[in-house]
Amino acid sequence: MKFFESGTNEFIIIRACALLMFLYIIYLVYFIVSTPVVDYMTWEAFFEGFLTRIFSSIFLISFAIHTWFGTWAIGTDYFTPARLGGLSKIVYSSYRLFCALLITVVLIWSFIIIW
């Protein structure tokens, strides 16, 4: 079985991405709680920091992977031959293409903002 055909691999990847995103949220919350005054200057300085940039990048990559698998699950639930007949293949392919483009655009755009 190919790597991406394995449900177990997919399950581990999704959970690992979710864990990384959760850790990033804790990192953000810690910054907000531990900073006496959160204003524009401290907020900007925080996101300009090298460590935050690295963590934000890891978060965004995890988010992209998680979204890719998540939208695959939604698509294979609803765009099936049983529901859409002969149109299912083209609707599903268009949907996946749209997801891929959207995720790529969001990822590139976010990286431009962060770096």
Partner: protein, 247 residues
């Protein structure tokens, strides 16, 4: 029933029942049937259905043992799957109305009768029987009491289909996702100390659909008339698949 019960001990119950006869009806419809049910005892939904059938003899449904053992009369009772024969009216009726529909997600043969082929096809895939490779021992394949205990909560499934037809993942992909009933049976044989095909069974569940389409919403647990826990069984199989990956 009304012939032997005093009229003062009867009350009316509005039943709304899904009707569809493919040889006569273009599309399904809900039929309102009013029946008289006793107030001095808590009859079951199946008893109320019998009363409805007296008024409407063409009404069709499956039933056999009428005590929650055969699993024939699984249906959707006021929005929740269950066995009509062991669901009391006091539990099912809301605002003096009882709505009965066939179990969702499977093709309707007629009225409350569904075609269970998809369900049985998935059950067949998990090979719900012991597979052994070693020589048959003289005294049979023995288990310790502890090994036998592992099967409690698994072997009791009566294959009524209430769980699988309450599962959205099974509704969307009934041909690919095995469904909670079949997966409970799969774990029943993986967990059996006498079975010798664990690896092959796990290999068959490794793809992205057969098992991993379970998102753990636990509808199956909520509706199981035998109080079983297919979600836990699925989780056990998943843990086994993941731990196998680590080795």
């Amino acid at each position: 029933m009304s012939a032997v019960i005093p009229v003062s001990h009867l009350q009316t119950l509005k039943m709304s029942i899904y009707r569809f006869d493919p040889s006569e009806d273009e599309k399904p419809y809900m039929q309102e049937i009013v029946v008289e049910v006793p107030t001095d005892k808590d009859i079951m939904v199946l008893d109320a259905l019998h009363l409805a059938k007296v008024k409407e003899p063409s009404l069709s449904y499956r039933r056999s043992c009428r005590e929650g053992v055969c699993g024939s009369d699984g249906m959707n009772i006021n929005g929740k799957n269950g066995l009509a024969c062991i669901t009391p009216l006091s539990e099912a009726v809301k605002r003096n109305k009882l709505t009965l529909r066939p179990m969702p997600g499977l093709p309707v043969v007629r009225d409350l009768i569904v075609d269970m082929k998809l369900f049985y096809d998935q059950l067949e895939k998990v090979q719900p029987f012991l597979i052994t490779k070693s020589e048959n021992p003289e005294k049979g394949r023995l288990q310790s009491p502890k090994e036998r205990e592992e099967l409690d909560g698994l072997y009791e499934c009566i294959l009524c289909g209430c769980c699988s037809t309450a599962c959205p993942s099974f509704w969307w992909n009934p041909d690919k996702f095995l469904g909670p009933a079949a997966l409970l049976q799969s774990w029943r044989f993986i967990a059996d100390s006498r079975d010798e095909a664990t690896d092959e069974r796990l290999d068959d569940l490794e793809d992205a659909f057969s098992l991993y389409r379970c998102h753990g919403i636990m509808n199956c647990v909520s509706v199981c008339p035998k109080g079983l826990n297919p979600t836990e069984a699925i989780s056990n199989i998943r843990n086994k698949l993941i731990s196998r990956k680590r080795q």
